[in-house]
Symmetry: C2
Subunit: 236 residues, 2 copies
């Protein structure tokens, strides 16, 4: 069943956002009384559509779902071009990231500029749609774009930097040594890799240089692969 | 250093393909005596460019590299649209797949048609470029497009089908039970999932229904995540 997020409630009726209303009317071509799921504050409700102008849906009942995000995974992705960033955000959402920062790495080809606000709105839209599509009951936080100073201030139990220089400290070793962590942050470098000074500063601030193995991975692949591997480590 | 594949050798000089020649001249803007790596039959040679019309490079010396593909991983991807297939082929190559089949699943939106030959040429080009970019010393085999009959005949030590119906038999359990396998085949369903009859026929033919966990993953994400997880299992 199609899932949408909303927190605009009057009595037991939800109002859908303009984007979701468009999706319901034009993409899904739904009718009055069609059923949808609405997620509000991590709770999932079975609802039926009761009007189209505007699109509203009435709660039928709450659906009990197991919440699976015991861990918080913060992805910090060095700024890359739009296509790659969209892919990282979509796949990252499917694979369970809970927060996301864009990072102004020294070697990022894409620089932050006046369009940052637009960029963040775009990112929020992508993770919301990916959350609906992948049936999450939460939406990853888009926490903005930070520089190295901001990055050093982010708090987490386990701080990982994916490093192409690191050869022996694999993600497997790091995760198995830190299995009790609640919050982890993973920093993924830009296409040219981190500058030495940048990597050293992060290491001084508690980030552990970590390798995903011998393969040469593009930055967007590293991001997706790392999240997949974390899911595997926690798999029973 | 930039890496290219070639097996056209005269004496100790390699002739580069038209696509690679274009890349060397127009994208990389290389000059005579610039160094490149050429891979021939899994051996890597340091070479220098000696002519542009046609593009030829002379071997300076062989480079010793560790061959990392002890295992054969055959990916069988149900036919999906071109963008998704391109992504699966590129990321699959980066993450170590060794062979690839397109699969005519019952629910595949994209059907095989007269353009199959063109499709396979396109796929071969993508995996060759991804192999060069990710510094592999081999190129995944594109083994064509098969139906369920062909699929049942492919031989492997471990045969996995990623199933949305399967809830308890995780990839982790399956890989850890079968750690000694040399060749594995992984079948990834189309967007609508496998038909029951199709999945049952594959199970009858030795495929093990396997889950990547509770998350709802798009077909292209499942393919990339599964390869990432296999890399993690083999990580030391």
């Amino acid at each position: 069943m199609q899932r949408y997020f909303s927190n605009i409630k009057e009595g037991n009726e939800y109002l859908l956002s303009n984007d979701d209303a468009y999706h319901i009317k034009k993409v899904m071509r739904m009718k009055i009384y069609d059923k949808i799921e609405i997620v509000d504050n991590k709770k999932v409700y079975l609802c039926e559509i009761i009007s189209f102008e505007p699109v509203k849906a009435k709660v039928i009942k709450e659906i009990n779902e197991i919440h699976d995000n015991k861990h918080q995974i913060i992805i910090v992705q060095s700024l890359v071009n739009e296509n790659k960033m969209d892919l990282i955000l979509q796949k990252g959402t499917e694979l369970g990231m809970t927060s996301f920062y864009g990072y102004k790495a020294i070697n990022s080809v894409v620089k932050e500029n006046d369009k940052s606000d637009k960029k963040i709105i775009r990112w929020q839209k992508i993770v919301k749609e990916a959350s609906e599509q992948s049936k999450r009951n939460d939406i990853p936080n888009i926490d903005g774009i930070i520089d190295i100073k901001g990055l050093c201030e982010v708090k987490a139990d386990l701080k990982i930097i994916l490093s192409v220089k690191e050869k022996s400290n694999t993600l497997k070793k790091v995760l198995q040594k830190n299995s009790m962590c609640d919050t982890m942050i993973i920093v993924i470098g830009p296409e040219g890799g981190f500058e030495d000074s940048e990597e050293n500063k992060l290491i001084e601030n508690g980030f552990i240089p970590t390798t995903l193995g011998n393969r040469v991975l593009r930055t967007e692949t590293a991001s997706i692969a790392c999240l997949s591997m974390i899911n595997y480590e926690w798999m029973v």
